[in-house]
Symmetry: C2
């Protein structure tokens, strides 16, 4: 017999326990996975051996290979990992995913990477049963990479119309309509749109041509919704400035400067995200333009922060958590089908919208 306290390099394996206890590995395995079918005396002997050797329990790495199922779902994005904890939209979405995972006891693996190459590797080697893809940026690439794995996956916020991928999205056209109708019904006739990107790497005022060839269909659809409804109210949409932002402070402010430099500044702003809308609120406030007295602002998304902005933001609320929940369930009870699902959005009226100032 060699020394027991040989906490040497190699970790203890199930086979070591079996040998020490004088049973086969089959029995040793049963002691841990189905203890009830092992005779008590043997069971105790094996457990004692495990204790004596300092066995850490069946290694999941080994079990995994046999079992096949990881019992975890991967959530991937091209953004850095901290995106999941910083971004309000992502957080609500993750809360929804968490809920569905908690219900079935599944775990969540966060997958991301700084550079393209590492991302590919991380997706290839992620130990998960399926993926939820946050396609805020680089969606097509992310989808392509994930497809290779031949695991179930669902794309969220997918900006394109690929029918070969499962996706959950919202009715962007309806959302746009809702926002526009709300403002038009309040009496507004002079609008400006602060939009999300229509294509990669572009900002500034947008031409109809750019809208037609938009690669981000979500952006395009929101605009389509705005314009459809505005037209119904007799607004000449050709004259509505559409300024493409990068969904950040700097470009949104630039957009506001541009829009308000006009001879006939808008009385209503249609913002394609709450983030943009909240930057607008701040900018207008700093300029002494009162919201909603002078200008109304309607956002899009319905992040929690929108409820506590100054003033609270009227917005088109996505069922963000519900999207997350459904996405997780699609992976958890995967049925082999490829489906696109479109959820409804809702107008949430708060205090950033009101009738336009009476023109004198």
């Amino acid at each position: 017999m060699a020394s027991l306290t040989e906490s040497g390099r190699r970790p203890i394996r199930l086979a070591d326990i079996a040998k020490a206890a004088g049973v086969s590995h089959g029995t040793a395995s049963n002691v841990f996975s189905r203890p009830e079918i092992v005779r008590e005396e043997v069971r105790e002997r094996v457990k004692a051996a495990a204790d004596a050797l300092g066995y850490a329990g069946p290694d999941p790495k080994g079990r995994l290979l046999r079992a096949g199922k990881v019992n975890a779902i991967g959530v991937a994005t091209t953004e850095p990992l901290s995106y999941f904890f910083d971004d309000p939209f992502a957080r609500v979405m993750m809360a929804g995913i968490s809920e569905a995972c908690d219900a079935t006891g599944a775990g969540i693996a966060l997958v991301s990477a700084g550079n393209e190459e590492k991302l590919a590797w991380n997706i290839q080697s992620a130990l998960v049963d399926g993926f939820i893809l946050f396609c805020i940026e680089g969606g097509p690439r992310l989808v392509e990479l994930t497809r290779e794995r031949k695991l179930p996956f669902v794309a969220l916020e997918l900006g394109s119309q690929d029918d070969t991928v499962s996706a959950i999205s919202i009715d962007n056209v309806a959302g746009g309509r809702l926002a526009a109708r709300h403002l038009a019904e309040l009496g507004h006739r002079r609008f400006a749109v602060l939009s999300l990107a229509f294509a990669d790497d572009s900002t500034g005022l947008v031409s109809p041509e750019q809208v037609r060839t938009a690669s981000y269909t979500g952006t395009r659809d929101r605009l389509l919704g705005y314009f459809e409804e505005l037209s119904r109210f007799g607004v000449d949409t050709a004259k509505v400035p559409v300024y493409e932002t990068e969904n950040d402070k700097a470009s949104t402010r630039a957009g506001l400067e541009t829009i308000f430099a006009s001879a006939e500044p808008p009385t209503a702003i249609l913002a394609m995200s709450d983030r943009i809308a909240m930057v607008a609120l701040e900018w207008l406030n700093a300029r002494g333009i009162a919201v909603p007295r002078d200008v109304s602002v309607v956002g899009f998304d319905g992040v929690p922060e929108a409820a506590t902005s100054e003033p609270p933001l009227t917005t088109i609320a996505q069922p963000i958590a519900e999207i997350g929940r459904r996405a997780a369930r699609r992976i958890l009870d995967f049925d082999g089908t490829v489906r696109r699902e479109t959820l409804d959005v809702e107008l949430v009226v708060r205090e950033s919208s009101g009738p336009p100032p009476s023109t004198g």
Copy 2:
């Protein structure tokens, strides 16, 4: 539908490719892991076979067993998964962990579970190289469960003094002192403490006996810090009411009711968390008690929300993100040692603290 080679149920294995391409599995493996050592002609042949059969690439499950390293760190808690995305403190911490993981390309696996049994199973079967433990609640149990895995782990917010576990914590005594000194130097002499739990399942006014036998040493240390410093300023700490809350609205409000029912209500409140402090702010405001004119409030933690509360909260800021970063690095470059590390906290003076009302 397109060419989704439906060759039976079983997924394609590396061995299938090897056979199809007429090479050994060793060579087939090399094509994917070290393509440069395989002759081009062979490489192409194998790749072609892989394409033809619809091979998903080397299965990480198989690789893992050989390689040993998962390249992911597990973050575990007894709270539900959504805690990671809801709680401000957790979010900042996770952002720090994310940063360290991003830097090395490691992934993050979130581990949690509704009930005790599932939690045990999830910890046992988590595919990770190590754990970071959020011990906000049920810390000792979590540590015990994790220890079984014999993987490196670091405990955060560990409320006990166990020297056999690696942990990163803050200097709670110093934090308490800082808070108390700040208020005492402003001239306050009448204090009340809204504390975190000293032991499981207790709330209400706390006796010295309870403090002495506290099982949560973090809570005890903060109080110790408060009292040490108050004594230096001649305050009779025996007369300072200490109300134990559950770090939530209801119990905090109950504490405030109790404290302000006194004949000599405090002019300064020492809150052991920003959450408690912010509930206090709200309650005081609702009662028409002005902060800081009538009552000063100092929090603890330094969550982002504290900077935007009404009024902005003076607090003891923990280096939350840094704790996360260090914890992750401790796992990522594990050196086999068990270490407790204590980081410094910092007084952040904002607008919730000022001189006491002049007694007249």
